[in-house]
Point group: C2
Chain length 347, copies 2
């Protein structure tokens, strides 16, 4: 049975535009494989205004327009100056909010307001933005459940690496005892370079910055905060917890020295920044820290900007998944997958 | 909403008994996490007869009874001498056939008859037996679709390693361009020992046999036939093909020499038995052969009896999953997962 869903896209930066491009490129494929039609009904860009059309926007042309310098609200025939995101979500017929505004870890705005407006209007949510999930996970999930609204957030938990799918679907019926993840590509790149070349942290960071892999202010990555945010959301979702991110014991990689690397190598080990969550008799233990993994650890071979996550279970043993593009296209593909799961598989 | 499903279990060998044990052990957990009740309504054992009870059998006690030497049909109060599997599947109320009889790759019997009886009676199928899937994939899937019957076969395609889940669910919306898998633990064990110790094939095989990892007649494994059967089912399912297994170019590991291993190592490579399926401009190419993987290949670190599969996609990049118990419990856990997917997630 053919299904059509109307999409409101919030945020039109790299990830939002990659999602629009994907809607354009995958249109025929989605119809053929999943009998699914996704109509882009509105786009709201932070600072760029909004466009909306009940009959559907042309995602490819809109993206071209913005990538050649236009503001969303200037898009011919479709721009709606003054229109607010809240209005878009309250519009009759909006089915899915795709949230790609920049993550804000102070108060989660504006995504938090978008989430709440969507929930109150019965609009399902697919998010790349992790702010509201890190800061208000339980409140948001409970409120969504109350209103019968679905929320998916693969793209917020390591983009195209299927962290949550493996922990919830591939291991259904098994009990997850422990989770270990290399969840941040920037820090894994830096540690890999240090391990391979024996260079110092500052040198590897400089190279990563020159390559665009690390940001000018790399704090969020190198202090382990991005890894912490992801393991918090993953552990909340899979171990049914309500973690306070500020209370998670978090050590980044700025203190890792060439001597540490050499000592690890001497023991056949390799240092990786690991976000982990374990059940223990005293309750769950969540932490982020550089760990010296033995050579036969399934994450020991995850190098450079690659990521990976490993689940230890009671009946299936250990299952590890690695890879998946970290690019805007990878994040967009993860959101498209979430929509297919929600609409067609009813997962 | 609480759901109850009545199960007919065919085959009560290692995998069938592990499944019964799991039903017993996971009963409360399934109710709590998935609001799901699985009732074991009947068990048919090849050569051991059948037991059935409309009110449900006690899976733990039945397994104890058989493991201490009893025949299924001798189980007090429940045995039903002379009862045939076909009768069990035609019984009103049977919901799911769990097929764990030994795989037969000549004519797929008796599993083929069980599959057909289940389909004709509207009973969904969860299979560990790969015979009917390897020999008659399209015919069975088409007939099931016609009758509205669901078929799941995770356990037939590498047990607890979630080969099909990753290729169908985690990558939904992406296009799979290529699949590469280490799908047989026995051959991977032998190749790993040869690589690590420089020993000959015969020596490593002997060790594997002594450890119970290889069978007395190891033909199916070492000639690549088990790998071929799995990649055929996986490629049929994920690339929508109808492959003739006999036509797949298949080379096993019996010809791999210490000299080959040394030459590979010299180039930083490691030899693995790879089952692969690729889309090419001239159509799909499926093959099984030892391949010298570079050190940074995501399957290069899959050692000993471990397995793994790697998917190359258009929008998500490459995603690789490794691990998962190969034991009877791992296969049973994969079947339990299939049931949860089918019943609760409606995947």
């Amino acid at each position: 049975m053919s299904i059509e869903k109307k999409i409101v896209l919030c945020g039109f930066g790299n990830v939002g535009r990659a999602f629009a491009r994907l809607l354009d490129a995958k249109q025929d494929d989605l119809a053929a494989r999943y009998d699914l039609r996704l109509r882009l009904e509105a786009v709201a860009d932070i600072g760029g205004g909004a466009v909306a059309d009940g009959a559907g926007l042309p995602p490819g042309r809109l993206t071209d327009f913005v990538e050649t310098g236009g503001a969303v609200e200037g898009f011919a025939h479709y721009g709606r100056p003054g229109l607010k995101t809240a209005d878009l979500l309250a519009a009759p017929g909006a089915d899915i909010l795709v949230e790609t505004t920049p993550t804000n870890l102070k108060d989660a705005e504006p995504a938090r307001t978008h989430f709440m407006a969507a929930i109150d209007n019965g609009v399902d949510i697919v998010a790349a933005n992790k702010g509201p999930l890190v800061l208000d996970y339980r409140q948001i999930l409970d409120r969504a459940r109350e209103k019968g609204v679905q929320i998916r957030f693969s793209a917020a938990t390591a983009a195209a690496l299927p962290t949550l799918d493996v922990g919830r679907l591939c291991t259904a019926g098994a009990r997850i005892e422990a989770i270990e993840g290399i969840l941040n590509g920037t820090t894994n790149y830096i540690l890999t370079r240090m391990a391979q070349e024996g260079c110092r942290y500052q040198e590897a960071l400089g190279d990563a910055q020159a390559l665009g892999i690390a940001e000018t202010d790399p704090t969020l990555d190198v202090e382990g905060l991005d890894t912490r945010n992801k393991i918090v959301v993953i552990a909340n979702a899979l171990l049914d917890l309500t973690l306070d991110p500020g209370a998670v014991d978090t050590t980044g990689i700025t203190g890792v020295t060439p001597a540490d690397m050499a000592a690890a190598r001497k023991e056949g080990r390799t240092i990786k920044l690991i976000g982990s969550a374990r059940r223990t008799p005293d309750g769950p233990v969540i932490r982020v820290a550089p760990e010296a993994l033995p050579a036969d650890h399934p994450l020991a071979g995850v190098h450079l900007s690659e990521k990976g996550i490993s689940y230890d279970t009671d009946t299936m043993g250990r299952i590890t998944v690695t890879g998946g593009h970290s690019s805007p296209t990878g994040a967009a593909a993860a959101m498209l997958k979430d929509i297919i799961h929600m609409v067609k598989f009813r997962i």
